[in-house]
């Protein structure tokens, strides 16, 4: 069953190593979508999964994990909803019209909680 996501809930986003900058901040590319079929960004609801588990279920042990509060995307016009799947009960979506500036804001509000390569 889908759960309500509070503004203070954490959201995890898996991060390709190239999307973490030398100073440990996150590139806006981490929040850009592929423009097909629409502007949806998959994340994990943090209280339902650990960062390490988020990488394990995607078989990407060399990746990192970033965390941002659900209230951040909501403040810039996105909807944040819990959309559990059989594979990932924590699966959630940041959905709405995405722009370059919004990607920058999401990235700026994201903290790396598991650095790339930490599990290898």
């Amino acid at each position: 069953l889908a759960e309500a996501i509070l503004d203070e809930d954490g959201l995890y986003r898996r991060l390709h190593p190239a999307c973490v900058k030398p100073d440990g901040t996150v590139s806006s590319s981490a929040f850009k979508t592929n423009n097909h079929p629409d502007d949806e960004i998959s994340v994990h609801l943090a209280r339902m999964i650990t960062p390490a588990e988020a990488l394990r279920i995607s078989s990407r042990p060399t990746f990192g994990v970033g965390e941002l509060a659900a209230g951040v995307p909501r403040r810039i016009g996105f909807d944040v909803t819990h959309v559990p799947t059989d594979l990932d009960p924590s699966h959630s979506l940041i959905a709405g019209k995405n722009t370059m500036s919004k990607c920058l804001e999401l990235a700026a509000a994201t903290s790396v909680v598991l650095a790339p390569g930490s599990l290898t």
């Binding site: 999307c19 590319s29 592929n34 423009n35 990746f63 722009t99």
Partner: protein, 170 residues
């Protein structure tokens, strides 16, 4: 005067600047002439030095090998057009940096983009510009400075993008 006609260096194609050996540290005059092995060694030793642009170029080249889904979601492969356009921008900025004797035009970071493009960031003195190269090679940017906040711009030519980069961090 140094002449290069070998496929080893490929300066005539403009790629020697981004070769594995690094990028040239000063201008080199090119004429058509066959070099000896010793000449080539000398050329590499003298003319090809590590450049602050080289890490970004190497990263961007590697982006071209990323498969579909490289971000663990549904990212598209980085297109050849995006890689080539990124290299072209860096090549021209590198030339400008050589002319001015500065490393300030070297990028801070480069990242692949899930739409098949590339993002390149420059920073200086609290200002930054992030250039987004689309899968087709077109250009836009987000410019951030403490006084004006973040501003988005689209560019109709590489010249316009380079001018904006130089205005922000040059």
């Amino acid at each position: 005067m140094i002449a290069v006609t070998t496929s080893d260096i490929r300066l005539n194609e403009g790629y020697a600047l981004f070769s594995e050996a690094g990028m040239k540290s000063r201008p080199v005059t090119v004429v058509q002439q066959t070099l000896t092995h010793a000449d080539i060694h000398s050329f590499k030793r003298i003319a090809l030095q590590p450049s602050p642009f080289a890490p970004a170029v190497s990263r961007i080249d590697a982006f071209g090998n990323l498969p579909a889904g490289w971000d663990s979601y549904d990212a598209r492969p980085i297109t050849r057009d995006a890689v080539d356009a990124s290299r072209s921008i860096l090549y021209r900025l590198h030339e400008a940096a050589l002319d001015r004797g500065t490393i300030a035009l070297a990028p801070y970071h480069a990242a692949p983009s899930p739409d098949g493009g590339v993002a390149i960031e420059w920073r200086r003195d609290g200002r930054s510009i992030e250039l987004w190269i689309t899968p087709s090679g077109s250009l836009s940017a987000a410019i951030d400075d403490p006084l004006n906040g973040t501003m988005e711009r689209e560019f109709h030519s590489p010249d316009a993008a380079i001018a904006a980069i130089e205005a922000v961090i040059g």
